[in-house]
């Protein structure tokens, strides 16, 4: 076998005496190998494809120059992104709005995989930069309308940023929850917030409170029957021994909705045995 290994080039290809022939032989051999290993490439790609960083580009467009530069880093992308994140934090600590905004986007362009880059970046845009801009406003321009415009502008910027994150992580509950929080606490848009909480609640890694808050928002939006049905199907799945699940709070809201909707006694929700009964208004 070892003799064949050493002899096969001359047997297969004869004596080659020019660079062009060498290049042709090498190119043909590598093309053939590329075709042969394609199944292996697809196997490996399917195993780790989701873990590979994306290359920033517009929809349907070729990759950008900075995107190519980031791609060239190869295995260094993660480390470079981490270092850039440190720089982002330093800029944040200095309240340098321009640098913070620039670095937030640069970090996720270099490496879009870590979710905490997206989440923390969005929070900086929506909460911290809003406060910086408030503090930097000239005297006399701090009216309510101006403030609302400012908050809305930053919230939309953060939501736009998170929309990019959803291109990579369409099924990530934390991103959906973050978008819901922004709609709820920054924009006051209960309807849109409710929709995002509902989406988050349907995902595998959703936090427990997403479903609970969705039910509560339905109630606040006046959609009491929907809220009642939602909470009744949610409550049985809540662990009674986990304070964070707030099963008693949910049960209290169910009772409150029953009162508000005038649900007959016989049709009211009955929790599974062993769960504590909390009347409406009692916690």
């Amino acid at each position: 076998m070892s003799a064949c290994l050493a002899v096969w080039p001359s047997i297969a290809f004869g004596i080659v005496n020019s660079s062009a022939k060498l290049a042709s032989v090498a190119g043909a051999a590598l093309l053939a190998v590329g075709a042969v290993v394609q199944p292996l490439r697809e196997l490996a790609n399917s195993a780790i494809g989701a873990a590979r960083p994306s290359t920033p580009r517009a929809e349907g467009a070729p990759p950008t120059g900075p995107g190519m530069s980031a791609a060239m880093l190869g295995g260094l992308r993660g480390l470079v992104a981490d270092v850039l994140w440190l720089k982002t934090y330093l800029a944040w600590a200095d309240r340098d709005r321009v640098a913070t905004e620039r670095l937030i986007r640069l970090v996720t362009m270099v490496d879009d995989r870590p979710v905490y880059f997206w989440l923390n970046g969005a929070r900086m845009i929506a909460y911290d930069i809003t406060e910086w801009r408030r503090a930097a406003r000239p005297p006399g321009s701090d009216g309510v309308e101006d403030d609302r415009r400012l908050v809305e502008e930053q919230a939309r910027a953060a939501l736009s940023y998170l929309a990019e994150a959803r291109e990579r992580y369409p099924d990530n509950a934390a991103i959906c929850v973050e978008m819901a929080n922004l709609h709820l606490y920054k924009r006051g848009d209960l309807s849109t917030a409710a929709e995002w909480y509902r989406r988050a609640a349907g995902l595998p890694d959703a936090p427990g409170y997403a479903a609970r808050i969705y039910g509560e928002l339905l109630r606040r939006l006046g959609r009491k029957r929907e809220a009642y049905a939602w909470l009744c199907q949610l409550h049985p799945d809540l662990p009674s021994d986990d304070p964070e699940a707030m099963a008693d709070v949910v049960l209290g809201r169910i009772r409150g909705l029953e009162e508000a909707l005038g649900v007959p006694e016989g049709d009211r929700y009955r929790p599974v045995s062993g769960r504590a009964e909390i009347r409406h208004g009692q916690r």
Binding site: L43, A44, G78
Partner: protein, 278 residues
């Protein structure tokens, strides 16, 4: 030893000679530098983790440094080991013995792969040690903090190191092919780094192939994507950070993928060297 026929023993001796030279040239200092860089990164990120899991930062730093220094070693070592033989003309003295040119090239490749293996093993030990030290520190500071810091599967770290060694082996084989043809070491070095960049951009080549309007661009992208390996397939740090082990299917597939390319590039290097006028 078979004096006339192709001999694995001679390949081993050439590889051993190559390693001995590398050791005497104090390439182990590179390992010390890498360990220092890893330790410094761990300290830096420890001071400024900023609410994100420290193991994630440490793994990024560890594998990033392994990638960076390892790529330099995988390109520079084969070029230096090959061209030093040419420039000193020791290659003439070796090949004047009953040594096949294939044995010479394969010996050089084998020595380089072992050198890279030692490098990656050392890097993995450093990374695992720092992770373990970090968990001890966090556990000492606060019960439960070690769990909050994120799970670390040391088997995944070791598997990640093995995957890096496979990637560096392919890169070394590509570089040796280039060196076996190149006339100067500078050309071989530059071409080696160019090959590294192209292999890192293979994913882009696939995208260009799908998105480009021009037939020629699509053709060129298709050729580049087929001829050179895709180094993006070796980027497993994100998987390691989740704490989940790398699947057996992936490990088997990437190992076979790497062996095929190392074999092909090694064979092509033998082929080029056989027709090189010394």
């Amino acid at each position: 030893m078979n004096r006339r026929g192709f001999s694995l023993g001679r390949i081993a001796w050439i590889g051993e000679n190559t390693l001995r030279e590398a050791r005497r040239q104090r390439l182990w200092l590179l390992l010390v530098i890498m360990a220092g860089a890893l330790g410094g990164s761990a300290r830096l990120f420890h001071d400024g983790a900023y609410g994100v899991p420290e193991p994630a930062f440490l793994l990024d730093a560890g594998f990033g440094i392994l990638d960076f220094f390892g790529s330099i070693l995988a390109i520079a070592a084969p070029v230096q080991m090959f061209f030093s033989e040419i420039e000193r003309r020791t290659v003439l003295t070796v090949l004047a013995k009953p040594v096949w040119r294939a044995e010479f090239i394969l010996g050089k490749l084998g020595g380089g792969l072992v050198l890279l293996g030692v490098f990656c093993a050392f890097g993995v030990v450093c990374i695992a040690s720092l992770l373990w030290w970090q968990r001890l520190a966090m556990a000492g500071a606060c019960a439960g903090a070690a769990e909050e810091g994120g799970r670390v599967a040391y088997s995944a770290v070791i598997a990640g190191g093995m995957v890096q060694w496979l990637r560096l082996s392919v890169l070394a084989a590509v570089t040796l092919l280039i060196a076996s043809y190149a006339r100067t070491s500078l050309f071989a070095l530059v071409a080696g780094f160019l090959a590294l960049v192209i292999c890192n951009l293979q994913n882009l080549a696939c995208q260009a192939y799908r998105l480009a309007d021009s037939f020629w661009v699509r053709g060129a992208a298709r050729v580049v994507g087929s001829v050179l390996p895709d180094f993006g397939l070796y980027d497993v740090v994100d998987r390691v950070k989740t704490g989940a082990p790398l699947s057996a299917g992936y490990l088997g597939g990437i190992t076979l993928y790497s062996l095929v390319y190392v074999g092909v590039f090694g064979s092509l290097a033998v082929y080029c060297f056989r027709h090189r006028e010394l």
